[in-house]
Amino acid sequence: MHIRLKVWRQETQDAAGKMESYELNNVSDDMSFLEMLDMLNEQLMKQGIRPVEFDHDCREGICGQCGIMINGRPHGPLKNTTTCQLHMRTFRDGDEIYVEPFRATAFPVKCDLKVDRSPFDRIIQSGGFISTNTGQAPEANTTRISSPLVESAFDAAACIGCGACVAVCKNSSAALFTSAKITHMALLPQGKEEAQARVLNMVKQMDEEGFGHCSNTEACEAECPQEISVLHIARMNWEFNKAHALKK
């Protein structure tokens, strides 16, 4: 295949960025999108041009490190797919593809397609855990959890923290990410004790990081590689209101 690319180039966070055009020949159907970018970089280096910086690691769709806007959509045109699991067979010979970093005030660009997603870590630090120390846990089967319940908790826990939900949202809201963690823990008996403080702290942190509000457009769910449901956002709101009402 012959592919034409328009790629966002930005040397540092403070530098001005711009789109650059590149062309690639002999792109194979079976290549992943990132392998296509590897090929581009090899070509650029041969021409003495600085290669395009992009984040990636596992290339199995699970680490959440990759993530770019492809033709205006986080992770590209396929539903529920990370960039590393997007294959060139999705495109056609001669296609022009726009490649840009995830955009959100809370995710500043570091270089080219790399952005800073550390606000997600700080949201987790504000309460996205169960306070257990090592070496004091009760026998696991003393905590019985029905299979449907654990499956629901899992559906939320499966979030990979890639940031696509933020990137697609017109308000750059982190509601899907935050609510997934809140739901995961609120559903499980282990997480109940701290549920109130958790939701209040995490929502506060989310706001402080500069993420926008959720206005229920549900684009996040549509773009989420893990199919995390917007119903978790409803659950977060409910937990939040409950916590407020019960706050002493």
């Binding site: 199995e60 870590d121 855990f129 696991a140």
Partner: protein, 636 residues
């Protein structure tokens, strides 16, 4: 020189005796002690969180943009623990025995017993953290069986066990960051170890955003930097996985044990083209229901569904009737290679075998299979465009796990006092072959349950030692070396990017030091790697710039791989036997099975760095089997 420090006494009492007698650090003193933890996978996150909880001051480093992405996140199948919830006869001893035997009697009894012993607490710990393990209808934990064992002792969280365990550990780590006990440094890469008066005292770190070179001091240094299987270029590992941290520590005096034992996993997706950057693993749990076969006829061009039952060779079931499709990884991988080399491979590159679910779907229904493996089937379809519910999967062996790593004693301390290695970065516990689902376990118990005790035993004597001075000449020297190496890599200005050399090295290793080896092949590989290394320093191209520069990061890692790869070949060359992941063509039984030579090779090989272009020096730690008798590992 190699003092394994295995406690005396009966096997089942060794660890409790150790804990009962290890020195403690009083809580008031812990906050005076600073510990550096490199790596945030299961091993790194769990130890950093544990030490933070105990009140030590911890610095945690990883090269990804957040700790949650460490490679542990990719583990699919599950984690072992001998809870005996199924009442199928599991016990600590049985798990110990399976692991020792699975590792072809090349691991220490004391370590392996402890691994099995700690396994039950790990499940308790993970459940308490909210890890959503699979449950039975009535709410109790469920488990399944995995390659190489006959009991069900593998706990799983759908096909994302590593992810969920890692998130548990990551969240525990984040809790400590919030509590102020752990300081987090993401996108920071360790470049060198600082040794003062023979003890590990700090690290040199490169900030991958700014390129700044930083000095960090600690009373102890823990490397939990994962495996180096990516040395083969094509592997199931994440792209960033590397051997640099342990290699640089090796050059500072830490011995590396058994480096040539790399597990080749039998159920990866086959390579489909030249451009490929990695091979995706299909979880081994698929072997519970999938049957592996190739056509009986060479070069059979028919699509799999048109090949009738009697023209299929279910070679694992044929050769190993007792374990069949669940044979251990080394056996299953080699059997696949044997069929592929003999001309029965399938797929466009004839480099694969079939993994077929049609029988399971007929017997259990498609829904049952979807429930168990749905996400794996979806992933398979995404990558290959093939629907595995209607057509068998194509799988192939791929480099997967390093059994070798830094040599450590029972306390997980390396030969440099104060330097510890945890998880896949150390060599302990797995012998010559790792059983499925034992690695997540090892990484976790090293961090949650073992090192918190053993490190205290060391730190108790360091309470009065002030933190090393960052102006000490050892820091300056290490920093200068790091800067010099970066300068050198940038100055070559040749024609080929780092990946070019990495691919070439991977091919040499896969062909000559992969699934099977021969003395002649290994000699050739050593020469070829030396030549490749020369070319690398003549013809490498790295784009300029000390800030964000992924190519510079890669180049540093490949430089280390080019040295480590040679050591792997030396290691394989000295072992005149076949065992586990190491199959020397000269040592096989008439029917092609591995021929182990216990009388001469019942030892751990620990290698000492002698300087560039000098052959490494071999030290041997003899293995003693007091509680089991090494037997021929037959899965027939």
């Amino acid at each position: 020189m190699l003092e394994s420090k295995i406690p005396d006494g009966p096997l089942e009492d060794k660890w409790s005796n150790y804990k009962a007698h290890a020195k403690l650090v009083n809580p008031a003193n812990r906050k005076k002690l600073e510990i550096i933890v490199v790596g945030t996978g299961l091993a790194g996150s769990s130890i950093a969180a544990s030490l933070g909880e105990m009140g030590y001051k911890v610095k945690s480093f990883c090269f990804q943009d957040t700790p949650r992405r460490a490679h542990s996140v990719a583990a699919q199948g599950g984690v072992n623990a001998c809870k005996n919830y199924k009442n199928d006869g599991d016990s600590v001893f049985r798990m110990f025995y399976d692991t020792i035997k699975g590792g072809d009697f090349r691991a220490r009894e004391g370590n392996v017993y402890r691994l099995a012993e700690c396994s039950t607490s790990l499940i308790d710990q993970a459940v308490a953290q909210g890890v959503p393990f699979g449950r039975e209808y009535g709410g109790y934990l469920n488990n399944r069986s995995f390659g190489g064992v006959q009991v069900s002792r593998t706990f799983y969280a759908r096909g994302q066990t590593g992810q969920q365990l890692l998130l548990g550990a990551y969240q525990a780590l984040m809790r400590q960051v919030a509590a102020g006990t752990v300081q987090l440094f993401a996108r920071h890469e360790m470049q060198d170890l600082v040794v003062i008066d023979g003890k590990a005292k700090g690290v040199i770190i490169r900030n991958m955003d700014t390129g700044a070179i930083e000095r960090h001091a600690g009373h102890a240094v823990i490397l939990a930097t994962g495996g180096f299987g990516k040395i083969y270029f094509l592997s199931t590992l994440a792209m960033g996985c590397n051997g640099s941290a342990i290699w640089r520590a090796h050059k500072k005096g830490a011995l590396i044990a058994n480096p040539s034992w790399t597990q080749i996993h039998p159920t990866s997706l086959p390579q489909s083209g030249e451009y490929q950057s990695k091979l995706t693993l299909m979880s081994e749990s698929l072997r519970n229901d999938g049957r592996i076969w190739v056509p009986k006829q060479k070069d059979d061009q028919r699509p799999p569904n048109q090949i009738p039952e009697e023209e299929r060779d279910y070679y694992l079931e044929r050769r190993y009737p007792a374990f069949g499709n669940l044979s251990p990884r080394d056996i299953a991988s080699r059997a696949a290679k044997e069929r592929i080399d003999a001309g029965y491979g399938i797929g466009p590159l004839k480099n694969a075998v079939y993994l077929d679910f049609s029988k399971a779907i007929r017997e259990q229904g498609e829904n049952a299979i979807r429930k168990k493996y749905g996400n794996l089937f979806r992933m398979y379809q995404k990558i290959t465009n093939v629907n595995a519910y209607t057509e068998p999967m194509r799988i192939s062996p791929a480099a997967h796990f390093s059994m070798g790593g830094l040599w450590v004693d029972y306390e997980l301390m390396t030969t440099i006092p104060g330097l510890y290695a945890l998880g896949e970065a150390n060599f302990a516990d797995h012998g010559a072959n790792r059983l499925g689902a034992n690695s997540l376990l090892q990484a976790c118990v090293d961090g949650y349950f073992i090192t918190p005790y053993t490190i205290a035993n060391y730190l108790a004597d360091e309470i009065r030692t002030p933190l090393a001075d960052l102006n000490h000449p050892a820091f300056a020297e290490a920093e200068d070396n790091v800067k010099e190496q970066l300068r050198l890599l940038l100055a070559i200005q040749g024609k080929q990017p780092a990946d070019f050399f990495h691919r070439a090295l991977g091919k040499i290793l896969y062909d000559k030091c992969g699934l099977s080896r021969s003395a002649a092949g290994l000699e050739e590989a050593i020469t070829a790697i030396k030549d490749l290394r020369k070319d690398f320093y003549k013809d490498l191209y790295v784009p300029q710039g000390l800030g964000v520069n992924a190519e510079l990061e890669k180049a540093g890692r490949v430089a280390d791989y080019l040295e480590l790869g040679e050591l792997m070949c030396y290691d394989a060359l000295t072992r005149n036997e076949s065992c586990g992941a190491h199959f020397r063509e000269e040592y096989q039984t008439p029917d092609g099975e591995a021929l182990r030579v216990d009388k001469d090779f019942s030892f751990i090989s620990a290698w000492e760095w002698q300087g560039a272009d000098k052959p490494p020096l071999l030290h041997k730690e003899p293995l003693h089997f007091e509680f089991v008798t090494p037997t021929v590992r037959s899965y027939k």
